[in-house]
């Protein structure tokens, strides 16, 4: 735990001690740190599965593990990473910690529900962990019927219950954020003075609230069909497995926007702070978050192009999928335009922001490939799709998550992280990531199907390249874990505003007092007005 108090001044970390003070806390800041610890555990668990998944294809006949184990590995990698790391990552840690501070509030609207959300994630996580330890689940994170209901004899129900419970954690967090943003903004904090991170949290919460319940009911139906043998999706009784895919993807596509929207919010903050300029086209970036949240619900059918979905529905979904690509393009162009004539610093968070913009561009553009019906028929269910969504989730969300953690680490812990080590790990992650996933685009177009334990020999070279990249990536991810813990004890003491940023969270001490602000701040200037900050930087010198 955090040992020596940073200064004798009272703040949320030394306000109270002991396990009870953490496990029964109602302080959004402590709950944010609890989430940080929980999802870091699941990140390294998912990462361990990932390394095994990457080592297996070193040889075409795949000698490391049996095919059953391999099927369980990629399933548990998917479940652990998506439901227990990516979806809660930025909203639950950085969102919980900084949303109230950014809008000048003392806490979220419903602190006790916030704590309940964390417990729901932990209980859901324990269900999933139990399933993994007891024997694992081998249906793929998509749980397609009739395999998951009738033919799989692995721990489907335990994992499904875990995801069901964790889903409510996501719903309640979304609910909490929407009410907080609507009802608890400080005086003067109008909608267009909100930081763009808050806009992206609002869009994410909309998706969490509107999408996750449909996954919950889908899991209830899956549970009933598997446990009580009643047939909702059972083809033998006249049910339709494709209906399960519709219900599943109605949530699971907006879920990828739950994962990327918060990352975009973090990047808007980083790009603005480290080029010391307001984000170019503030309103366009803010409204594109809303557009992504809304349009994200109209496009799920592009996961069903070859699943005997009707041709006309395929065309409707393909057409709408191109609509949802436009707001993402607008954001990328606006970030790049923000750099123009800025005062750009190369601090670690900015390196992560550069990495994000580049890799998210590639991820987004390959999204245009799989949205086109002609190409998708060939590349769906191959490594091309695996590469596409890893570019978005790993190249995008995890880069932004690490950038955000580095950016707000001084505010959270009152300590600075070691700059040189941090820049080195950012570079290693960028290189390792590209070496891992770029070859998979080629593999995919060559026709290498995903979720394959053995494969034809002509794909081996690309697989070996990808596994080499994975080992570099693993090193890159291990480094922050080490130096963040190191910084808690030995890191330089952080000033209130180390980066000269303009958010309200930088106007209070590091680490912040229990009630965030000594007195409720009044917002008087535009969202990213750096003229107000420069005097402070000059005084501090």
């Amino acid at each position: 735990m955090i040992t020596a108090a940073v200064q004798e001044r009272e703040h949320y970390l030394n306000a109270s001690y002991g396990i009870k003070s953490w496990l029964l806390t109602k302080d959004h800041k402590r709950i944010g740190l609890l989430y940080l610890a929980t999802i870091t555990l699941f990140f390294f668990l998912g990462g361990a599965f990932a390394t095994l998944i990457r080592v297996e294809p070193l040889t075409p006949q795949g000698g490391l593990v049996s095919s059953e184990t391999y099927n369980k590995l990629f399933t548990m990698h998917g479940v652990a990473m998506i439901f227990f790391f990516l979806i809660p990552s930025i909203p639950a840690t950085l969102g919980n910690f900084f949303l109230p501070m950014m809008i000048g509030a003392r806490d979220l609207a419903f602190p006790r529900i916030n704590l309940l959300s964390w417990y729901l994630l932990v209980v859901g996580g324990l269900f999933a962990l139990f399933a993994m330890l007891a024997g694992g689940v081998d249906t793929g994170w998509t749980f397609y019927t009739p395999y998951s209901t009738t033919y799989s004899n692995s721990w489907v129900i335990a994992t499904a219950l875990g995801i069901f419970v964790a889903g409510f954690s996501s719903i309640l967090t979304g609910l909490n954020f929407i009410v907080t943003i609507h009802r608890m903004r400080a005086p003067g904090m109008t909608w267009f003075r909100l930081p763009l991170f808050v806009w992206s949290m609002y869009g994410t919460s909309l998706i969490q609230v509107l999408g996750t319940p449909v996954l919950a009911v889908t899991i209830v139906l899956l549970f009933c069909e598997r446990v009580f043998q009643i047939g909702i999706f059972n083809p033998a009784l006249g049910g339709d497995p494709v209906l399960f895919q519709h219900l599943f993807w109605f949530y699971s596509h907006p879920a990828v926007y739950i994962m990327i929207l918060p990352a975009m919010g973090v990047i808007s903050e980083l790009v603005s702070t480290f080029s010391r300029k307001p984000v170019f086209g503030y309103k366009f970036v803010a409204f594109s978050s809303m557009a992504i949240a809304v349009l994200g619900f109209l496009v799920w059918g592009h996961h069903l192009f070859v699943s005997t979905q009707s041709v006309y529905a395929g065309m409707v979904f393909s057409f709408l999928s191109y609509f949802v690509a436009i707001p993402s393009a607008i954001k990328v162009f606006n970030w790049t335009a923000t750099l123009y004539k800025g005062s750009i610093s190369y601090a670690t968070p900015m390196l992560y922001a550069f990495g994000f913009i580049g890799l998210f561009t590639i991820g987004g553009l390959t999204g245009l490939f799989v949205a086109s019906l002609g190409i998708d028929v060939h590349v769906t269910d191959t490594y091309f799709v695996v590469a596409h969504f890893h570019y978005i989730m790993v190249g995008g969300t995890i880069m932004a998550y690490l950038g955000g953690v580095h950016y707000w680490w001084p505010k959270m812990t009152g300590r600075m992280y070691p700059e040189i080590w941090a820049r080195l790990s950012a570079l290693i992650i960028f290189l390792g990531f590209n070496l891992t996933f770029f070859p998979q685009f080629i593999l995919g177009y060559m026709g290498m199907p995903r979720r394959y334990h053995v494969y034809p020999p002509e794909f081996q070279v690309l697989h070996v390249l990808s596994t080499a990249g994975a080992s570099v990536l693993a090193v890159g991810y291990a480094m922050p874990m080490v130096y963040f813990i190191w910084s808690l004890r030995y890191g330089k003491l952080a000033p209130a505003n180390p980066w000269g940023a303009t958010g309200l969270e930088w106007k209070t001490a590091s680490p912040p007092p229990l009630q965030n602000f000594d007195e409720t701040p009044v917002m008087t200037h535009e969202a990213y007005d750096y003229s107000t900050v420069i005097e402070e930087v000059i005084e501090v010198g």
Partner: protein, 106 residues
């Protein structure tokens, strides 16, 4: 009994209004049950859903005070119904157009 009185900023409807709405709901329930026994062909589904929507509006506007509540609450309610529509009608865009090409599975 004026329709509703001001009471420290809250609109309070009279008990009479609520009873009137309640009787309306009972009447609609009887109506929808009766209509089901009349052969209207495809129109019977539309009638059943139409009556149900009327009952929903009565409960929402009067019993859940949506009449007096903020624009945000109304937006939230309308938004939910729009999303329900997206879920049902976009999925039906697949199920309704299956077999149009005459080729099985397309």
């Amino acid at each position: 009994m004026t329709p509703h009185t001001e009471h420290n900023g809250q609109h309070i409807d009279s008990a009479g209004t609520y009873i009137l709405v309640f009787l309306g709901l009972i009447a609609l329930t009887v109506l929808t049950t009766a209509v089901a026994f009349v052969d209207l062909g495809d129109f019977s589904v539309v009638a059943a859903l139409g009556i149900a929507v009327c009952k929903m509006l009565l409960v929402a506007l009067f019993f859940m005070h949506v009449r007096h509540s903020t624009k945000l609450t109304r937006l939230v309610l309308v938004g939910a119904l729009v999303w329900l529509g997206i879920l049902i009608f976009l999925t039906l865009s697949d199920f309704a157009t299956r077999g149009f090409t005459g080729v099985p599975g397309r």
